[in-house]
């Protein structure tokens, strides 16, 4: 997660001081990625070192203000244009857990999957409720509309992400059930449409974009 670019984006709207950046960052993302003030100041120090921001005096209350530099602005707009790097997919604890659970003695992998599915669907229920609230706020035109829209987009990203996880869990379970059938029955069973349509191998680093319906 790029705190650097997040701060540059806020500074592009005008000079700000440290704790103000933290507050604005959090209201944009609805506290999804809480920052502490220490992270903000160390990031500002690095941005200053790299010539992307510069101190810009003090406000009336004596807070040190920072302003974005031309180099910072160039970096910011390059960031907006550049797709997020997928060369090194983040290590995902769930994938590792399921990979380890396959054939592990004393582990019921369907129970592992169900316990994760429970947590995933529950998180989706919560995100969905937050989304309904955010949507109502945006549609009523109340309050800080820009922040509400930003928060809505972040929530929807979380919903898509948990949805992908839930679908993947369904897929894993269906796959494991199918593989556990005796070979003669397996040959007789029609291939479930989902298993046929989805990217089967977890060894690729491509993002999974295939979306299919199950019957």
């Amino acid at each position: 997660m790029s705190i650097r670019h997040g701060l540059l984006a806020l500074l592009e709207r005008g000079p700000r001081y440290g704790s103000q950046l933290r507050t604005e960052f959090e209201s944009r993302t609805g506290s999804t990625w809480p920052l502490n003030v220490g992270q903000v100041y160390t990031t500002l120090a690095r941005l200053e070192r790299d010539g992307l921001v510069a101190p810009d005096g003090e406000d009336a209350a004596g807070h040190t203000l920072y302003a974005i530099t031309d180099a910072g602005r160039t970096e910011l707009f390059q960031w907006y244009e550049r797709p997020v790097d997928r060369a090194n997919p983040p290590r995902d604890e769930l994938s590792i857990k399921l990979a380890m659970a396959v054939g592990a003695p004393g582990v019921d992998i369907r129970a592992v999957i169900q316990s994760q599915r429970h947590a995933t669907i529950k998180a989706m229920q919560d995100y969905t409720r937050l989304k309904a609230t955010a949507l109502a706020a945006v549609e009523s035109g109340r309050s800080h509309e820009r922040d509400d829209v930003a928060w809505l987009l972040v929530l929807e990203q979380l919903i898509f992400q948990t949805e992908a996880e839930a679908r993947w869990l369904d897929h894993c379970e269906a796959r494991l059930v199918r593989l556990s059938l005796p070979a003669d029955r397996r040959a007789a069973e029609p291939e479930p449409p989902q298993a046929a349509a989805e990217t089967p191998a977890p060894t690729t680093t491509q993002p999974r974009t295939a979306r299919s319906r199950r019957g």
Partner: protein, 248 residues
């Protein structure tokens, strides 16, 4: 929802519900003893792999099929022991269905489709039409009243089907994959309507395999091989972003 549960009767109560098809070697245990109560204001999603018994559960809950054993109580009446006449009346007055293919009658307008169950219930055509228009209006579908099904989009038809399912004072809506044929945006608008009807006091069961739609429910029940294996309860969302999920 716990406060509600203490003070209100469930709209639907399933007790040890069993449905077995066939016998002997070809015996299929579609449901193996389901207990489930749905309260006013509650939307319950049922998820599970294909063949796990989701549709069987809905048809039994709606009195369209008879259980092998167990009870189905709708608004206080045990429909498994009710007379055929009582059951028919209950199906018309208390229970609404929404299926994947919308089942609107092509030769009737939206308002006529919605009015039909009221007319079947013996209410005058004028009154039935008035209550149909009111139901459509209340659900933000007033502008569709005089359109025929083939003049509406899939999402509009499905929303009219929900209006029909809940016209009058019917308080139980049973929806089997109601978003199955819709794109995700339209599916969402159908879900929003179902959710709003439950918020207004109806009780609903939504069968879906789409996690995104199940997430609109207050509870998600997971079926596998005819049994409930797990269920989620709604929590307080405020705690969510400061708990484990924040690190994802």
């Amino acid at each position: 929802m716990p406060e509600q549960r203490k003070s209100q009767q469930p709209v639907l109560q399933l007790d040890r519900l069993v449905r077995t098809h066939g016998s002997g070697a070809t015996e299929v245990h579609a449901l193996r003893g389901i207990d489930l109560s749905v309260f006013p204001g509650e939307l319950v999603a049922v998820m599970g792999p294909s063949g796990s018994g989701k549709s069987t559960l809905l048809t039994l809950a709606g009195g369209l099929d008879t259980p092998s054993s167990g009870r189905v109580v709708v608004e206080g009446t045990d429909i498994t022991t009710a007379s055929r006449r009582q059951l028919a009346a209950l199906r018309r007055r208390s229970i609404g269905y929404v299926f994947q293919d919308y089942n609107l009658i092509p030769a009737l307008t939206a308002a006529e489709n919605v009015a039909l169950p009221r007319e079947l219930d013996g209410i005058s055509a004028r009154k039935a039409r008035a209550s149909a228009l009111a139901a459509l209006e209340e659900m933000g579908l007033g502008q569709l009243a005089d359109r025929f099904p083939d003049e509406m989009s899939g999402g509009q038809q499905q929303r009219v089907a929900i209006a029909r399912a809940l016209v009058g004072d019917r308080r139980l809506v049973l929806a089997d994959e109601p978003t199955g044929a819709l794109d995700s945006e339209t599916g969402e608008s159908v879900l929003a309507l179902l959710r709003a009807r439950c918020d207004a006091g109806a009780a609903g069961i939504l069968v879906t395999h789409e996690p995104r739609f199940a997430a609109w429910a207050d509870r998600v029940v997971f079926l596998r091989d005819g049994s409930v294996v797990d269920e989620t309860l709604r929590s307080h969302a405020d705690s969510l972003l400061h708990g484990q999920a924040a690190g994802q």
